[in-house]
Structure formats: structure tokens, C-alpha cells
């Protein structure tokens, strides 16, 4: 079943940050990587993602630079900042808490 991007919208930030933390990536590479890893189960709106990447840059959690020419064209790579790393850590803690709370209800644990 495909998860619509509305459900994951609040977590898209964390997904992008995680991918950029692994290594510096350019915009479409992020789109592709998400598609490849979720095997199509997450239908992402590319417009949302492009805007989100730029917002993250304005929040100064990521930074960008024009990378070396690979295959003839230069690319704008995004890299995580120290602030971004701290922000992501916070998001990870938040996620664990959310997961535990939802599990209480959705998986019938008590």
C-alpha cells in the first residue's frame, strides 16, 4: 500500500536530513534515493520536497555548494551543518517517543 505524502509530511524533513547526513547530495539525488529505498511505497510529491530542501537551507540546518563538474554539468550539493546534526538528533528522539505512543494504541500494547 502506498503511503501518501501527507502522512509523512512532518517527517520528510527528517528523511531529507538523514540522507544528506550520510553524504552530500544534490536535489534530484535525494528524490531518487527516497524512491529507491522505499521501493515505491512512499509516493512523494516532488514539489513538496524541492521546497522543503530550500526551507532547510534557510533554517541553516543544511548548506549548499556548487560541486565539481561531473559528466559535464555542475551540480548544487547540499551538506548538513552542525546545527542540522543537532536538529536531526532531536527529531530522532521525538520520533522514538511518537512511535512508542502510537504503538500503545495501534498495536494494542498496554
Amino acid at each position: 500500500m502506498a503511503i501518501s505524502s501527507d502522512v509523512l509530511r512532518g517527517h520528510l524533513e527528517s528523511i531529507i536530513l538523514t540522507l544528506i547526513k550520510e553524504k552530500d547530495r544534490y536535489g534530484y539525488e535525494i528524490v531518487n534515493e527516497i524512491k529507491a529505498r522505499t521501493d515505491g511505497s512512499f509516493v512523494m510529491k516532488e514539489a513538496t520536497l524541492y521546497a522543503m530542501v530550500q526551507r532547510l537551507e534557510r533554517k541553516e540546518v543544511i548548506d549548499s555548494y556548487i560541486g565539481d563538474k561531473s559528466h559535464g554539468k555542475k551540480r548544487r550539493y547540499y551538506t548538513i551543518t552542525p546545527l542540522g546534526k543537532a536538529y536531526l538528533k532531536e527529531k530522532q528522539v521525538e520520533w522514538k517517543e511518537l512511535k512508542a505512543i502510537m504503538a500503545l494504541f495501534m498495536e494494542g500494547k498496554s
Binding site: 536535489g27 531518487n32 513538496t48 524541492y50 521546497a51 522543503m52 530542501v53 534557510r58 559528466h71 554539468k73
Partner: protein, 142 residues
């Protein structure tokens, strides 16, 4: 690529002053077209079509949020600037104070016993006015 440019220009019709973000989006779309041509062996025409199609609904592109973030970012920068100014003025005032005191007690005591206080009072207005400015700025955009 002209079509990508036109597409982005149209998207930014109501937000024409955010050139930075416009360029960033164009760049990301160009990169996608490049990748499609290179990796999936599409023709340039098809690659551009796919890129525009995949972009999806324009309302999902959060222009308002982007503009808001830009304002916040600018404000943050201004505040940081003012804070640096303030810090600099405080340090400079302390240094000037020390110099004046030493000068006063070693060289000038017999002639101007009150000089250091007048100079200090004058210099003190520097960080004070900057502090006032910073506070004003903070209050402005709350």
C-alpha cells in the same frame, strides 16, 4: 531548458523577488533533466516533459512557507549583526575605560582628576545605544 525556465518563472509569478530560491529550483530541475537524459536515455524533450510532470501540483510547492523562512532568516541575520556590534562595543568600552583609568592615575591626576569619569560616561553611550537598537529590533518583529 527554456521550458524549465518558463515553468519556474510562471510558478514564481506572485513571488517575483525571491530570485535565490528561483535559481535553486531551476538548478534542481536542470539536474533532474540531466540525470534522465544520462541514466534513462530519454531525449531532452521527453526528459523535460517528465521533469515538469513529476513536479506535480504547483500548490504543493510551498512558496509562502519559503517566503516566511526567508524573512525569518533575514531577521536572524540582522539580530546576529546587532549582537556582534554590541559585543564589540562592550569590549571596546572596557578597554577604553582601563586605558583612561591608568592614564588618569599615572599621568593626569594632578591636572584632570575627573577626566576618566567624563570619558567613561561618554563612551558608555556607545554600547547603551546599540543595546537599545537591538531591543527595538527584537520588539519590532514579535
Amino acid at each position: 531548458m527554456k521550458r524549465i525556465d518558463n515553468f519556474v518563472e510562471r510558478l514564481y509569478k506572485h513571488q517575483p523577488d525571491d530570485a535565490e530560491s528561483k535559481e535553486a529550483l531551476k538548478q534542481m530541475l536542470y539536474e533532474k533533466v540531466d540525470d534522465l537524459v544520462r541514466d534513462e536515455k530519454l531525449s531532452l524533450e521527453d526528459a523535460i516533459n517528465r521533469t515538469i510532470e513529476d513536479f506535480g501540483d504547483e500548490t504543493d510547492y510551498d512558496l509562502i512557507g519559503l517566503a516566511k523562512e526567508k524573512r525569518r532568516y533575514k531577521r536572524q541575520k540582522t539580530l546576529r549583526h546587532y549582537r556582534n556590534d554590541l559585543l564589540f562595543s562592550v569590549i571596546a568600552t572596557i578597554l577604553i575605560g582601563c586605558i583612561v583609568m591608568i592614564a588618569n592615575y599615572t599621568l593626569l591626576e594632578t591636572y584632570f582628576p575627573w577626566l576618566s569619569f567624563i570619558v567613561l560616561l561618554g563612551v558608555l553611550f556607545w554600547p547603551l545605544s546599540l543595546f537599545y537598537k537591538l531591543m527595538n529590533r527584537r520588539g519590532d518583529s514579535k
